[in-house]
Amino acid sequence: MRRTLTTLMVVTGLALMAISYFGLAAPWGASSVDNADPRMDFAGLVFIVGVVLTFSAALVYELLPDRPDDVPHRVD
């Protein structure tokens, strides 16, 4: 569960970055002078969300327990 969620977050984050960058904000192959507007408003925010999601995967990886009843026992 934890591993799946982490991988999912990384992949989704990278996908969001790629899509928002190449698809929405800076359309591939289009001249930069003709395109003064991103295709979708807040495309830049989507890009940042992608970056944040990718790095948040590390938080999930460390903080989420493997199973709901999984309580780590102290090792002394």
Binding site: G44, Y61, E62, P72
Partner: protein, 442 residues
């Protein structure tokens, strides 16, 4: 079992105490805080004047017919601060990736340096905008990757800052867990940071893996981020002195220099005020000194290449600019910065070759290279505007107004306050065995 530092009163026996001066504010610290608040407050007032009167309150003016510079001290500080942020997290990541255990005591202060300097860099951008509130909203809404600014805004400020915060947070959980066992005013904060960390074998392994991948991901992120900062300048055909392929790599090199310089200063301050001479040993300073020497030599190489290229064949458009830099009105900053880079090379090389390191000289080197870094950033930003017009406008001039100096001082004071506050709420050096034992017994 009271911990005592050189400058603090001892805590009465029987009361649990937090290590490294956390939660204890001596008179020296209070003076530091008061002065910091005063300067930051004055900076805030100066910015209020700028916000209400318009940016004409600064010394900046339009390029061309107005004979001014439209980017000045603020953008100089933006580039400088983002540069400082580079070395911090890079060092922390390298310590993790190459398991440089000897340098582990400075890993956290390096991370803190990065986070604080990025926050300051973001503030410095905002004070430079003519419409700051609109700027924040419109950047999120309309940000265009075709503009080099996009990388600065998204990757540097948002992405890199967030990644560094995550890295620092995860790396601090173990110490937070130890501290959260001690009743104090900060216990709630420590508990929340620890988020249930129990220091089990499994958790340690997880952190080991997570920090590895984070460190691995952060390094390309920040190389891209710093290169886009270089591109902000290097891609402008219309500005002699800016357009060039060396801008991006030179930015990264000088960033490393100023960051390690700052780290040396911070480590020396920590060593003195926290009384941790046995942990922040001279070997650590020696390593930082060697890193600084190498990055300095790399940057000086870039500078030499740039200078020789310019002297050998100055394109028509750059004649006025190169004259102003080398012999004209900017010469004192140019040669002053060169001196402030070359002297540390001599100081560091002498120490490295004799294997005799002195913290005082290292701090002096750190200060010098940072003065040089500010000077060099200024020389990148301003002369290409006053002496770099392609059409034959008269040469311009730029002098920062008191408002710009006050705002910059306020921003830097804020940074010092943030670091000072951090040091009073969380251990700057990762806790070692003896400190953890003291906590466990308390």
């Amino acid at each position: 079992m009271a911990t005592k530092t050189l400058t603090e009163r001892p805590v009465p026996r029987g009361e649990p105490s937090l290590p490294q001066g956390i939660g204890r504010f001596n008179s020296g610290w209070k003076v530091f805080f008061a002065v910091g608040i005063l300067i930051a407050g004055f900076g805030g007032y100066a910015y209020f004047r700028e916000y209400t009167e318009g940016m004409g309150a600064t010394g900046m003016r339009d390029v061309g017919t107005m004979g001014g510079a439209t980017w000045g001290l603020y953008i100089t500080m933006v580039v400088y601060l983002i540069g400082v942020s580079f070395a911090g997290i890079t060092l922390a990541a390298l310590i993790r990736l190459f398991r440089l255990e000897k340098l582990a005591p400075v890993a956290r202060m390096a991370e803190v340096l990065t986070v604080v300097s990025l926050i300051l860099g973001g503030l410095a951008i905002i004070v430079d905008l003519g419409q700051p509130i609109r700027g924040i909203i419109n950047l999120f809404r309309y940000a265009r990757p075709q503009s080099p600014f996009f990388g600065t805004f998204t990757l540097v400020i948002a992405g890199y800052l967030f990644a560094s915060l995550v890295y620092t947070y995860l790396g601090g959980r173990r110490d937070a867990a130890v501290l959260s066992k001690v009743p104090s005013r900060l216990q709630g904060f420590h508990r929340r940071w620890a988020a249930g960390y129990q220091d089990t074998e499994r958790e340690r392994r997880r952190h080991w893996t997570a920090s590895f991948w984070l460190a691995l991901a952060i390094i390309p992120l920040l190389i891209i981020a710093h290169s886009t900062l270089g591109f902000v300048f290097g891609l402008q055909v219309g500005r002699p002195g800016w357009y060039g392929t060396l801008q991006a790599p030179a930015f990264v090199a000088l960033a490393g220099v100023s960051g390690i310089g700052h780290l040396l200063i911070l480590a020396a301050i920590a060593r003195r005020t926290l009384g941790v001479r046995d942990r922040l040993r001279i070997e650590i300073f020696a390593w930082l000194g060697r890193f600084l020497l190498v990055t300095l030599l790399v940057y000086l190489y870039f500078m030499m290449v740039e200078l020789l290229t310019l002297l050998y064949n100055t394109p028509e458009a750059e004649k006025a600019l190169s004259d102003a830099l080398l012999t004209g009105e900017y010469a004192w900053i140019y040669w002053g910065s060169v001196a402030a880079l070359v002297m540390p090379v001599a100081i560091l090389a002498y120490q490295a070759l004799n294997s005799r390191w002195n913290i005082g000289w290292l701090v002096a080197s750190g200060v010098l290279v940072n003065l040089a870094a500010v000077g060099k950033r200024y020389l990148i930003v301003v002369p290409s505007q006053t002496h770099g017009t392609l059409l034959p406008y008269d040469v311009g001039s730029y002098t920062p107004s008191w408002i710009e100096w006050a705002v910059v001082a306020g921003i830097l004071a804020l940074g010092a306050l943030l670091i000072g506050l951090f040091m009073k709420s969380f251990p700057l050096l990762p806790l070692d065995e003896s400190e953890r034992e003291v906590m466990a017994d308390a």
